[in-house]
Amino acid sequence: MPQPPRLNAVALISPQNHPILIRTFQKGDELKYHYVAHTSLDVIEERTSGKTKPTECYLGLLYVMDDVAAYGYITPLKVKIVIALALTDSVVRDADVVMIFKALHMAFYEAVSNPFLKLDGVSESTADYSPYQAVGSMKWKRLRQAVDEIHRALCAYAP
């Protein structure tokens, strides 16, 4: 029975490739995970713009670098989610990763549905991405808390 994956960092990236939220669960290594998130965009773009467009949101293992494995996910509205898993010598089940991604996607979805995010909205049009920016800012805690909750749940599940 493979162990559940250990989550090191979560990154949510807007459709314009701006970071929405990058949450690291390892102290002192934030920069590294920012880089992981940024470089993952390369692989994500490569996979989504290829000849065979993926039918699923889950993009699978993006790459392995240092001691982390980066996995990618793209929502139908092109919000990219990247998670960095600690590299252990065990099989990581796709089902587990997809589950984490789905939880993160739901958390983001719920957080961004907050109508108050639009209170300071820049415009009334539907193509306004300012809630995406706002939801990750320090002012709104809901997404942050939800991501932390997912991390905690994963840690609790691990023996």
Partner: protein, 917 residues
């Protein structure tokens, strides 16, 4: 394994031990290589990894654990060997799998594992996953790992520098770790570049480049590092990943400090201030001030320009125009907000002036620092109107306090005016910093916000208390100047419905309610009708067009004046709605200038008049006019067969002249007035048309004389009867062919608009219907006197004429015995007649003696044609002979057949004669 595990068998750091270790490594490489040959990528990596792990464990036992440089040197070598192996492989047939989850679905080939990876394949099938450790990647990754290990090795080496006792230290000292790392990174960089697809933006390569730059920095090659940094920051700036930019700037700044490049340091500090300092806000501006105060620029007048375009802005800027559109000559008010970031300290930035530039040729607004001005959190600076660059007067310059505390806002409020239609916005912002001899010009972006901040688009409505009104239009940051719309009122007058063939006038009435003189041109487009056979055109000033009438000039209309334009629509053919598009274009040509003027604008007036050609308004209207027929016409057609015998062939006129003995047609035409209004019918004429197949012989209107002009109301009817002679059958007739009506009625009429007013005279042409004379090959004519005297013999003749041109007829005649009781009949009671040749006729005569008085029924004669039956039924000869086809017998006294002459022709001989006593 046991050998390595026990220090007793193989003591570490002996020659033998070293040999054994190298041997083990070599074998590992060989095994990995074989796996790769077999496309078992996961197994190859798994083996490689387990080898490294096993020996890492051993290393701890040997005293060269993770804390020693020897361990990392060995690790780096392992990765490098693997990378080189893969690089070599890639040159031949080795391909690298892509770890897309779709390729590992059950049923499909587990591409990530390769066809031979049986144990892992099973494993994958069961768990649907992948050990990331076993995912083979391109060699760049392994070079990168090797470089990282080399860095770790250097770290350990530097840590153990004091302890010269460490074994191998002397050797290690000779190694230039950084060059080694650089070489590995460069290799990785090249491979990443090679393996990155065209779709990606090379972020991975940039990362490696960043590592290279760091390594250069470590090795003291600052110039190289600076060059790398310059290149890397471009992308990061564009993508606005500030978290990546900040450490980069810090290192870059350190480089420039080492290099002693003051100008670059200053530039960098400005950019770093823009980027923000999360840890110690305000320290950067202090650094900047220190540098500025402690140094002098290379030349005193030199202005140092810093481009912050596409970078993070220092201030969040926002431009709002109150209205999205303004008329030419009207002032558009705007507010330009400069807002200091909340999480960054720029309070000591020595801002001397800020210049706001507009997109068109306008004088910029300059804000100059003045410490005595208000320093409220929200400062409003009113500038008046922004003038064009070539206008007279001083450039706009206002004093303001340009020191910002966190979240301070400076709002510049003013108006702008344009004499030409244009879209205006603020194009750029130049901030000038001045401190002890230094002048720094910062090109700043406009209408941008810092990462993560959102400034809600608010319009400052009051300063005390501070109140805002949200302006959420998408186009709030620019204003569109348009010409004042021309106030023209356009109305159309015409009757409700048009009648076909009528000249239908439509009047366009244009009233100029503007204060300008307007040159008006009308275009009229008649849309194609949607029904077949519709004919239509419009007439204007004698110009006739079935489509477009372009540029009907109305001339210059003075304010308050009006112009009417009448055009005429003529619709004929089919009744259907006609669609007309009318476009009224007005042009303020040679107009007086807009009234809202200042004397300063006089110099502009020449350009206005040249541009006024474009001051065009268009008024569009679509008219749908139903067109109905004025009359509905019904025809009653009666065909009469000629009683005259066929002319013998020998007669010359049969061959050359026209013979009009093909029968006669009586056409009764009923006109009903269906127009929604009353009509005055001025005349009715039957115009004959030349035809060798039919001609009009007489018409009732010619006999009756003048019934017209008469007024007809809706629903009124009148009738006309005309006679048409048909040409004889032999000529020009094709069997079953219809004869076109040999004439047309021409009705001239007018619409009665009011009791005293009539419309123009119109002419409607209604052609006679198609004539379909009955086709009859055999016909019988019965001749009998109308009166008789009791017991005085009379004669009854029956002529059977064969009109068929090609076939002879076999005819039998039978007298109906049940109808002969009123007479004593002498003659043929029943029998066959001689064969009647084409065009010939046969005559049968009976002598009758009336034996009853009063209205007496004439004996009925049944005539049967057998020949027709034969031809109609080729194979059933006997049946046809038995049956025969009855031949129509016509009483020659009446000699008419009604309608289109269906050939059933039962003897409708209800005829009677009157017998006197």
């Amino acid at each position: 394994m046991i050998m390595f595990g026990s220090t007793a068998i193989l003591p570490p750091r002996t020659k033998r031990w070293a040999e054994a270790k190298v041997l083990a490594d070599t074998i590992n490489v060989k095994i990995t290589k074989f796996y790769l040959y077999n496309h078992e990528y996961a197994l190859a990596l798994s083996h490689c990894n387990s080898h490294m792990r096993r020996f890492a464990d051993f290393s701890r036992g040997w005293g060269i654990g993770e804390e020693t440089f020897e361990y990392w040197s060995w690790m780096a070598r392992q990765y490098r060997v693997l990378a080189e192996l893969l690089e070599q492989g890639a040159r031949s047939t080795l391909t690298f799998p892509i770890h897309i989850p779709g390729t590992r679905t059950p049923g499909g080939a587990p591409g990530a594992l390769g066809p031979g990876g049986a144990p892992l394949e099973l494993d994958a099938g069961r768990t649907m996953g992948l050990n990331p450790n076993h995912a083979l990647q391109h060699p760049g990754h392994y070079y990168y790992m090797a470089a990282r290990c080399t860095e770790a090795r250097r770290e350990r080496f530097l840590a153990s520098e004091g302890l010269t006792t460490a074994p191998g230290y002397a050797n290690e000292k000779k190694v230039d770790h950084l060059t080694l790392a650089l070489e590995l990174y460069t290799k990785a960089y090249e491979l990443f570049k090679q393996h990155s697809s065209t779709a990606s933006q090379g972020r991975l390569t940039l990362w490696i480049a960043y590592r290279i730059a760091l390594t250069y920095y470590e090795s003291g090659k600052f110039e190289m590092a600076v060059r790398f940094f310059e290149r890397i920051t471009k992308t990061y700036r564009r993508e606005k990943w500030n978290t990546l930019l900040r450490p980069l700037y810090t290192t870059w700044y350190a480089c420039t400090q080492k290099l002693g490049d003051v100008e670059l340091s200053v530039k960098l500090l400005v950019e770093m201030i823009a980027c923000g300092d999360v840890d110690e806000p305000g320290s950067l501006q202090e650094d900047l001030l220190t540098i500025l105060r402690s140094s002098v620029p290379s030349s005193a007048d030199d202005v140092l320009t810093v481009d912050l375009i596409e970078c993070e802005p220092i201030w969040d800027t926002l431009l709002i125009f109150w209205k999205p559109e303004a008329c030419v000559g009207e002032e558009a008010s705007f507010q330009f907000t400069l807002s200091a970031p909340a999480n960054n300290d720029i309070s000591n930035l020595p801002v001397d002036s800020i210049m706001i530039m507009f997109s068109d040729d306008y004088k910029p607004i300059t804000l100059r620092h003045c410490a005595s001005e208000s320093s409220e959190p929200v400062r409003m600076i009113c500038v008046n109107q922004v003038h064009l660059a070539n206008a007279d007067g001083q450039p706009l310059e206002v004093a303001a306090n340009l020191r910002w505390r966190a979240s301070d806002r400076v709002i510049v409020s003013g108006t702008i005016l344009s004499a030409t239609p244009i879209t205006l916005s603020v194009s750029s912002l130049v901030v000038t910093l001045k401190e002890s001899g230094w002048t720094i010009k910062i090109n700043h972006d406009v209408c941008t916000t810092r990462e993560g901040t959102i400034i809600p688009p608010y319009w400052l409505s009051s300063l005390n208390p501070v109140q805002f009104i949200p302006v959420r239009r998408d186009d709030r940051s620019n204003v569109v100047f348009r010409h004042r719309p021309h106030r023209l009122s356009v109305s159309f007058s015409h009757q409700q419905q048009a009648l076909l063939d009528e000249e239908f006038p439509i009047t366009v009435e244009i009233v100029n309610s503007d204060d300008r003189h307007l040159d008006v041109v009308v275009d009229i487009l008649l849309q194609p009708a949607e029904v077949d056979e519709a004919v239509q055109y419009i007439v204007h000033n004698g110009q006739k067009s079935s489509g477009l009438i372009k540029g009907a000039e109305c001339g210059v209309i003075a304010p308050g004046a009006s112009v009417g334009k009448t055009f005429i629509l003529v619709a004929s053919g089919a009744a259907a709605s006609r669609t007309i598009d009318v476009s009224v274009q007005s042009n303020a040509a040679g107009s007086t200038l807009p009234t809202v003027h200042r004397p300063t604008d006089l110099s502009v007036s020449s350009s206005i008049s040249s541009l006024s050609a474009s001051d065009t308004n268009e008024f569009l209207q679509t008219l749908v006019i139903p067109a109905t027929a004025p009359f509905s016409v019904t025809h009653d057609v009666e065909y009469q067969i000629s009683l005259r015998p066929a002319r013998p062939l020998s007669e010359l006129s049969t061959l050359v002249g026209e013979s009009w003995d093909g029968g006669e047609v009586i056409i009764m035409t009923k006109f009903e007035c269906v127009a929604p209004c009353s009509l005055e019918i001025e005349g009715l004429e039957l115009k004959r048309q030349e035809s060798n197949r039919a001609k009009v012989t007489q018409s009732s209107n010619e006999i009756d004389g003048d019934k017209f002009p008469t007024e007809y109301l809706t629903g009124d009817q009148f009738c006309n009867i005309c006679c048409v002679s048909l040409a004889s059958r032999e000529y020009g007739f094709v069997e079953g062919n219809a004869v076109p009506g040999p004439g047309e009625y021409i009705v001239t009429w007018r619409r009665i608009i009011s009791p005293s007013e009539c419309g123009p005279s119109s002419t409607t042409r209604l052609s006679l219907p198609l004539l379909l004379p009955p086709k009859d090959s055999l016909v019988g004519f019965m001749t009998i006197p109308s009166t008789a005297k009791l017991h005085v013999p009379i004669q009854m003749h029956l002529v059977i004429r064969n009109h068929n041109t090609t076939r002879s007829a076999i005819v039998t005649v039978a007298l109906d015995q049940s109808t002969v009781e009123s007479f004593v009949v002498a003659g043929l009671h029943g029998g066959r007649l001689p064969t009647i040749l084409p065009g010939a006729e046969e005559k049968v005569t009976w002598n009758l003696i009336p034996v009853e008085c009063g209205m007496v029924r004439v004996p009925r004669v049944r005539v049967m044609d057998y020949q027709t039956g034969l031809s109609a039924n080729d194979d059933g000869l006997s049946v046809s002979v038995d049956e025969g086809v009855p031949v129509q017998v016509i009483d020659a006294r009446f000699g008419a057949r009604i309608g289109d002459g269906d050939a059933t022709g039962q003897m409708n001989q209800t005829d009677k004669i009157f017998v006197f006593p």
